[in-house]
């Protein structure tokens, strides 16, 4: 059976660190390198922040996080029932942001380059689901 955990958190900004630390703790059992672990935590931080800042901009809603491991592959799904994204291709472009001055518009760029696979599904008025996948390297010293 594959290993899977689910976390539901309210979209408050102080929960950003909890979300990435919780996912990090799950992934740590696969013995990732420090770089792989940081990559995953950063990608999770981006997706969760987007739910807080964009999806539930003026409200507090629930963020649903599912993490699973099958073999060496980690799969992370982050879902909101917020405003949705009108044009996903445009939203994914580096530097594109609807978030104003202090947002870099690089969240999707980080998710894309720090994981192996990124999929975004969204319906305006219904919400957004971001799925990411990353393979954890197998270390030589663990070979039998």
């Amino acid at each position: 059976m594959k290993d899977e955990i689910k976390i539901v958190i309210p979209s408050r900004s102080q929960n950003e660190s909890f979300a990435r630390v919780a996912v990090g703790a799950f992934v740590a059992r696969l013995d990732p390198t420090l770089e792989e672990l940081n990559d995953i935590k950063t990608a999770v931080s981006e997706a969760v922040t987007n739910c807080i800042v964009h999806a539930y901009r003026d409200t507090i809603g629930k963020i649903y996080i599912t993490v699973s491991a099958e073999g060496e592959t980690v799969k992370i799904r982050i879902r909101d029932y917020g405003c949705g994204i009108e044009d996903i291709d445009k939203a994914k472009q580096p530097l594109f942001t609807t978030g104003g001055e202090e947002r870099a518009g690089l969240g999707f760029a980080v998710m894309e380059s720090f994981t192996d696979k990124l999929r975004v599904r969204s319906t305006v008025g219904k919400g957004t689901t971001v799925t990411m996948q990353k393979k954890i390297s197998v270390k030589d010293d663990t070979k039998k």
Binding site: E46, T49, R103, A104, L106
Partner: protein, 102 residues
């Protein structure tokens, strides 16, 4: 405190502390901008030695401070970045915006 600021002549150094995400970046931004406004430095140094994590909110923080210091004719320096933080910054091309010594 999330940031400790020292002023020496026309140089302000901001020692950022802890994890930089959207939640913590706001406080850091306000403290740095208040010090810049007060001292109008020719150089702003952002020191990352005590930063253990950073996502793209940190990129927004650096880019935003660049915009704040430019009108004063000031320069932005980034220093003491860990490999993780360097990786996030390179993705954003921040090494082209600011002087990075590590």
């Amino acid at each position: 405190m999330a940031v400790k600021i020292t002023v020496s002549g026309e140089v302000i150094t901001a020692y950022l502390d802890g994890e930089i995400d959207h939640h913590t970046a706001g406080v850091m931004r306000n403290e740095i901008d208040a010090a810049v406004e007060k001292n109008m430095p020719t150089m702003l140094v952002l020191d990352f030695r005590d930063v253990s994590f950073m996502d793209s909110s940190g990129i927004g923080l650096v880019m935003g401070r660049y915009k704040v210091i430019k009108p004063y004719g000031g320069e932005l320096h980034i220093t003491n970045t860990s490999p993780h933080i360097g990786k996030v910054m390179k993705l954003a091309g921040l090494d082209r915006l600011a002087k990075m010594d590590r």
